[in-house]
Amino acid sequence: MKRLRSLLFTWETLLVLLLLIGCVIGSILSPYFLSGFNLEYALPSNIMEIAIMALPMTMIIIAGEIDLSVASVLGLASVTLGFLWERGNPMWLAIGAALLVGVVAGYLNGLLVTKLALPSLVVTIGTLALYRGLAYVILGDQAVSNFPTAFTNLGFGTIPGTQFPWSVLIFATLVIIFAVILHFSRLGRQLYAMGNNKEAARFSGINVNRIKLILFVLSGGIAALAGIIFTSRFSSARPDNAVGFELDVVTVVLLGGVNIFGGRGSLLGVILAIFILGVLQNALSLVNISGDIQSLAIGLLLIFSVLGPNIARNIQAVIARRRFAVGSSKQA
């Protein structure tokens, strides 16, 4: 009984409930919501870049840091890709360069955080502006859109025999890798240890700085990968691609139950949160609510995913205190 109750009240159960409620509301709002095309193609393809970037972000936040520059790295990688392709370079070179740009961008973040002991929050606010700015410097107000069909098929096409976009396959592969690292490897345990107590982690022989550097490089590389997917999906490389995506990425990670101060959280929760965000965006889009107004809902979701548990904890504390008071007065 007690076990059942504790299972019922885990964050993940709450998320499943939220997801179901979202689906019910979505299907009431629009008859298209439950259609195969919408659920298999439109909904996942719209959320996949965010979903992919949320994986390293989960690790970074569990380790007690944050990376706010992901959307700008996405934009910079996308612009690099477009710029090189437009200049007549082969596609594989453009893609490789875009990935490299992401890795370098992440490496710079990591260097600033580890070598100078700067808070990642400030560093990545700075590089959020810097990387986006560089994207504007490279392409100005232009857009590159004449990509080869083989490349755009990656974004538009579906996995043969299904209606799922290719990006779902990339995401699924990454989920397995990240889940193994985070939950079944030494590195994963070290991330939790770092998030719980950085000093203690260092004294227990964990190379905290090295791991942090790896995390930021990983985050940059994955953001660049998301940039490539984004570019192929819209067949367009623009400097303002995915502006503001950091909100969505941080929101799904925190909504997924990862503690903002580090040390706690699971990939399962984050994956559920990704689907919740997908359903929310999809349902709002189906009833013609613009992206700017959707951001209002997502911003509130972000705040409540931290505020909610805080309030619940306060209420629990009040109840416990009252119970204690009642108990002690009975004894007297």
Partner: protein
């Protein structure tokens, strides 16, 4: 026996005084360094393009900096407490839009009423931020990242239900005059920014609560122990930031005359750049209003110089980013040097 311990005590006190002197000297050096950088930029750009050096151009720079400086003053209050307010751009955008729309709908209304409305709206938004951060115990970065988009969403909802854009011809001339009037030959906009900077600067320097803001930022736990009401003060800092954004929004509407739902988007990056370039420590606890205002002036001057030198405006955002990183790295290096120097002195003593 007692004399020796007194001696030890005396040297210890003296070394503490020396430390405080060193730290204050460094922060003064930080500000004068900024001033020197500013003069350097002015000279270099002036040689390249003499028209940069006209009085008229400097007034233009100060005019474009005035609103940024007002917002930066509010941001400084928040950053001093080891928090950050990312929602400033959206708060300015919201109040600018609503105030302009208010004047469009009620052109005959008293000017002061519109100004008060804008300030009150900003204050409310700031209060919401403050409540979430200090009483909801949500980290400022998460709370204000959320409200950055939530408040912007509010502007879009307001615009969707009213008008997509308020034009200069829609609002009474009296409102637009806010940005163009001159008092004693000085543009009102610059005067307002200066008065606010002086008042808040004095408050931070000399008032009880002002000093407590520094205490919270330098050591939140210690501040708690000595009985500083941290929650209230942090709440107050966010509310003040909102209020100043409200005022800045009112002025924004008057200055740019044409406002839509996207106005002041991304302002938060400029504001944070101004604050950290101005030497306000992003870890909280040190920095001055003068520094933040100087930071805003440096950024404004650079922006103006890019314009005059015909360098693409696309460089601007990258520059803000580089300025944030550069300033934070510089501060980290200074802090490291300071700690080493103080430690070495202590060992000698």
């Amino acid at each position: 026996m007692t004399t020796t311990s007194q001696d030890v005590e005396r040297t210890r006190q003296r070394s503490h005084v020396n430390q405080a002197r060193l730290i204050s000297r460094v922060s003064r050096v930080r500000e004068s360094g900024l001033l020197i950088a500013l003069i350097f930029i002015i000279i270099v750009v002036g040689i390249q393009a003499p028209r940069f050096l006209s009085v008229d151009n400097f007034v233009q720079i100060l005019l474009s900096v005035a609103i940024l400086a007002i917002v930066a003053v509010g941001e400084t209050l928040v950053v001093l407490t080891r928090n950050v307010d990312l929602s400033v751009g959206s708060m300015v955008g919201f109040t600018a839009f609503v105030t302009a729309y208010f004047f469009k709908e009620l052109p005959g209304i008293n000017l002061l009423l519109g100004i008060l409305l804008g300030c009150a709206l900003g204050l409310i938004l700031g209060i919401v931020n403050g409540l979430i951060v200090s009483f909801g115990r949500v980290p400022a970065i998460v709370a204000t990242l959320g409200t950055l988009y939530a408040y912007r969403g509010l502007v879009f909802i307001t615009a969707a239900n009213t008008t997509s854009q308020v034009n200069a011809s829609d609002v009474p001339a009296g409102y637009l005059a806010l940005a163009t009037t001159q008092i004693l030959g000085i543009p009102a906009l610059i005067l307002i920014a200066a008065i606010i900077a002086i008042i808040v600067g004095y408050f931070l320097r000399s008032s009880h609560a002002g000093r407590q803001l520094y205490a919270i930022g330098s050591n939140p736990d210690a501040a708690n122990v000595i009985g500083i009401r941290k929650e209230r003060l942090v709440f107050g800092a966010f509310a003040a930031s909102g209020l100043l954004c409200g005022l800045a929004g009112v002025l924004w509407g008057a200055r740019y005359a044409t406002v839509d739902a996207t106005n002041a988007t991304g302002l938060e990056l400029q504001v944070i750049a101004a604050v950290v370039v101005g030497g306000v420590n992003i870890f909280g606890g040190s920095g001055t209003i003068l520094g933040a205002v100087l930071g805003a002036i440096v950024l404004g001057t650079v922006e103006n110089a890019l314009n005059i030198l015909n360098i693409s405006q696309f460089w601007l955002q990258a520059l803000y980013g580089a300025a944030i990183i550069g300033a934070v790295v510089l501060d980290a290096l200074i802090t490291r040097w300071l700690q080493r120097t103080i430690l070495a002195r202590r060992k000698k003593a």
